[in-house]
Symmetry: C2
Subunit: 165 residues, 2 copies
Amino acid sequence: MAEGGGPGGESLLFLTDEQLRKGIEAMFFAYRGFTADPDRILQEYGYGRAHHRAIHFINRSPGTTVNNLLSILGVTKQSLNRVLRALIEDGLVESVVGTRDKRERHLYLTEAGATLERELSDAQRARMRAAYRQAGPEAVTGFRTVLEAMMDPELHRRFVALKEN
Amino acid sequence: MAEGGGPGGESLLFLTDEQLRKGIEAMFFAYRGFTADPDRILQEYGYGRAHHRAIHFINRSPGTTVNNLLSILGVTKQSLNRVLRALIEDGLVESVVGTRDKRERHLYLTEAGATLERELSDAQRARMRAAYRQAGPEAVTGFRTVLEAMMDPELHRRFVALKEN
DNA sequence: AGTTTAAGTCAGCCTTGTTGACATTCCAAG
DNA sequence: CTTGGAATGTCAACAAGGCTGACTTAAACT
C-alpha cells in the first residue's frame, strides 16, 4: 500500500500513507471549522444544516424545481420536503406553480429568506476569505484542484455545471 | 463585501465573493466524496460515521483515554459512549482500566477492529491518493495549507499536535 | 385512455447529536 | 482518614435529519 519515494523515480512523497492520513484528518477538522459559523447562526433560528443547504442552493439558482434541488442535495424528497415545508411556513421560501409545466414548483427566497441567506453566507465567506488570504492565491488554486478531484464524477459534473450558471 | 481586483493593488481576484462561493460549494461536494466510500463499507457492518471516527482515532493513538477522544471528536460523552459500547460489545475495541490512574479507560483496537480500520482507511486513502495524484504535489501543498487555515484555532492546535505523534 | 412524472404526505425507523440526573470509582488535598 | 472533585459510565428523554414504503393528486406525455 505504501508508496513512498522509492528507488523508482520522481518524488512521490506526497502520496505516502502518512501524507494521505494527514490529508484525511485535515479534511475532518477543516470541515468542522467550515460549518461552525453557520451552525451557530442557524441554531438561533431553530434551523439546521439541512435548511442552510436548501437556502443556499435556492439562492444560487432562483426558480429551481424541487427535483432539481433533490438531485443536487442528494437526499430523499421526504427529507427535503420536511425542510422546505418549514421554510415555506416560516415565510423564507416561496413555492410557485410552474407556468409551462404546472406539476413543477419553482422555489424562490423571500425577502426574509434572502436576509438569512446573506447572514449565513457572510459568516461562511468571512471564514473562507480569512483562510484564502492567509494561504495565498497559489494555495487556493491547489485547494480547489484537489477538492474537485475528490468529488464523485457525477457530483463533479454537477459542480462544473453550477459554475457556469 | 466584494473584494475584487480593485484599483488598490495586487490581484486579489481569488478573494471575490464569487470565488469564495465556489470554494464553499467545492467543500460541500468534495466532503460527500470524501465520506462516500467508508459510508458504503460501514453500512455493511451496521455502523455509521461516528463509529468510523472513533475507530480512526483509536487506531491512530492506541491507548488513548475516553476524555482524550471526546475532545478530539467534539461530541458529548453520552454520544461517544453509545458508539464505544457497540464497538466493545462487538469485539472491535478493547477498554483497559488504567494502571497509573484506574479511573481512566485506555482504548485499543482488537484484531477485528484493526481489520475493519484497514478496510475503511484503505478505501478512503484510495480516493485521496487518486485525487492527490491527479492534482499533483503543488496542489496538495496548497490544499493542506488552506484546510489548516480554515480550522478553528483550537482544532488547528490539536491537529498540529496530532501530526507530531 | 392509460402511463409516467412531479410533488406532497403519512407513518415509522435509525443514527447521532443534545440535556439532565445520578452512581461509581478513586486520586489527592486537607 | 475523610472528603472533594475528577473521570467514567449509565439511564432517560428528546430532536434533527437521514432513510424506506405506501399512497394521493395533478399534469403531461404517448
